[in-house]
Symmetry: none
Subunit: 217 residues, 4 copies
Amino acid sequence: MPEPTRVRRTQAQRRRDAERTLLAAAAEAIAERGVSGASFAVIGERAGTSRALPTHHFGSKDALVARVASTAQDAVQSAMADAVRATSAFRHISGLDLIRTVADTYLELFEHPTAELRALLVMWGATFPSNASIEGMLEAERRAYEGWARNIRDGQADGSIRSDINPDPMAVVLHGMLRGVAAVVLTESEHTDVSSVRHAVQHWISGALEMTPPTGS
Amino acid sequence: MPEPTRVRRTQAQRRRDAERTLLAAAAEAIAERGVSGASFAVIGERAGTSRALPTHHFGSKDALVARVASTAQDAVQSAMADAVRATSAFRHISGLDLIRTVADTYLELFEHPTAELRALLVMWGATFPSNASIEGMLEAERRAYEGWARNIRDGQADGSIRSDINPDPMAVVLHGMLRGVAAVVLTESEHTDVSSVRHAVQHWISGALEMTPPTGS
Amino acid sequence: MPEPTRVRRTQAQRRRDAERTLLAAAAEAIAERGVSGASFAVIGERAGTSRALPTHHFGSKDALVARVASTAQDAVQSAMADAVRATSAFRHISGLDLIRTVADTYLELFEHPTAELRALLVMWGATFPSNASIEGMLEAERRAYEGWARNIRDGQADGSIRSDINPDPMAVVLHGMLRGVAAVVLTESEHTDVSSVRHAVQHWISGALEMTPPTGS
Amino acid sequence: MPEPTRVRRTQAQRRRDAERTLLAAAAEAIAERGVSGASFAVIGERAGTSRALPTHHFGSKDALVARVASTAQDAVQSAMADAVRATSAFRHISGLDLIRTVADTYLELFEHPTAELRALLVMWGATFPSNASIEGMLEAERRAYEGWARNIRDGQADGSIRSDINPDPMAVVLHGMLRGVAAVVLTESEHTDVSSVRHAVQHWISGALEMTPPTGS
DNA sequence: TATGAATGAGGTTTCATTCAT
DNA sequence: AATGAATGAAACCTCATTCAT
């Protein structure tokens, strides 16, 4: 008669499971109540564990928040990387198309936002105070719009993007637009239609960046 | 026997002065430490008064925060209204120009942001959690992008804005872009040049909305 | 019909009363359970107030403990100063007699030790760990045995104390003896008779310090 | 089929080794941070083992502390017994000389105090609160000064100690002095010279106890 | 009007201990 | 034998708010 193998889990498995559960609970709590409102009591209860477990696993609240942030950032990054890979698999895509694809993929995530994604935006909002600091958050933002600037330069090089625009401020606008639109969509989810907003964003990007076809002649 | 008139006014005026001082201190505290971090202790100390005075004047923290929000919103609104009035004083301006003027005026404020203005953006960020609520904040946001939608329709009516665009989602994008760009500029003030960002935003608006001149012949 | 004046107390009085009550409660708690065991919960309950009041009045536990220490030190100092004043009121006393009086007065306090006094000794014991630190404690100890050294030198100058002894180490021994004897008396109050211990200490002091009368001749 | 004998001893010996390591780590932690500050986390880390090992070996914190105490007491006792044995090996020593030897040996230990020794004194200090209790500590103290009383009586019997002194309170003073002096030396190690303090203590003991030689004649 | 004393709720974190592995 | 996951209790402290002055 075999022993019940169901119950047996290795320590490592238990740790991984617990951390996953806690991170999910933390993301939900942050999405719902903000970073400061996501207390260990709330997180622990939501995870179905004790209030002390988060500290046990992550050491401190700051560390837990940072982990939620990096986990969510990774998820977003990989979603966008997948989209790029899928789009560029069979044909070469221009710099402009890359930007459009990535931007659209980002906003697409907000059609059915996960708690993780919403938490990420909430954490972005929590970095606005001048004293505030969520570890890894500012750095990730900077990486993001530096990436946009790079993409713009690539598009200028391959002729898909107008050469008379300044990449750096344009990247800031592009990045800010995506974050801001996401925030509005999230807070006003009942009054906004995400897919038409996505369409409008594509329109903006084309209007602003697209190399105008040689008129006349 | 006449009472000393000097003292007479004091009663009402002192109240107004005290409230102004408190509101200013609260705005600074919020801009620096966020809504939840702006405790009465911090505010009271910064205002040079007791810790109990904010409660005394505003009743509760929520009420104080709401007052800071509405005060700041009024300031922003009147700055934009002034700009529109100045621009349209001598000549009629198109719907598109109105949008460009208002947008540019908004971003211009962030070249030298007051504590009030930064607090307003911080409070915007604090509305991202789904449970969060700052009284008057969401309503003001909605008014704002409904205003943009109206402006777009006006521009379409007077022929300055392309007629093939959908005003409502476009308003969301416009509004989100301004908020998001402002946030990025604020958090990355050392790495971004506001005036070139303003320029880029003007470029985006034109590219997206402007009625294209009849090409060819 | 006069109003009940009993209830009316000024803010300052209330504060003074509250602080006194809290200090007394803290001294009792420390005497009973040690510095680390004297939690705010215990102190608050013993003082008949809330658990948060100690923080409100003293800012932190360390500050409260330091206040208990300095208050107790003052009490002990003034008791000893009183004794010296009483003894030297009508006649000049020698350096040796001064030492004997002060030492005996110190031990006399332990015949009916107040909570404050016991707390002071407990706090002395809490300074033994190398990392431990109670603000003002070490300094007071140093002042104490430097005072003894000064007294010994005075006695040597006036001929009441043998000139062949080294004041500084002797002061350490004298000070250590008093503290150590007090500690033993306190912890073993049921098995020791304080007055005979006092007598023995007087004997030791005389034997060690007294200028021996010229023998022989 | 013989089992590998190399491994055989390991089982019991490893346990002893582990306990020794833990006791040493606990002594260091107590010496540094006091009894209450010596948490299992600190001890485990210092011992290079898990945080749960102390509980596993000793059952509870109280038991561990008691073991540290008794181990240290044994070490001190055997150091003093060695000294007595060495001194009395070749000649009979008087009661007074015995006392002087033991006292001096005790203080000599504080010239280069081990963590164990410092922990012992820290634990003595931790017994001052009236509710405090470290198992075995009070009993050992009592044994110690009862031993002194016995020694004094022996000295009186052999004529080396004055017969007009009361052994019991004198033993309390002697014991308290040694503990107190040790504590002062430990906490003020930078400002005190142990060897001159030892000298002073010898002076005190002689002055207080020594049978005065028949003056005159 | 304004202050500050007072409090209860709740925050993060530390800790000794238990239990499964 | 040893580990570390897990927990409940309790620590200090902060905070918004109430109340007497």
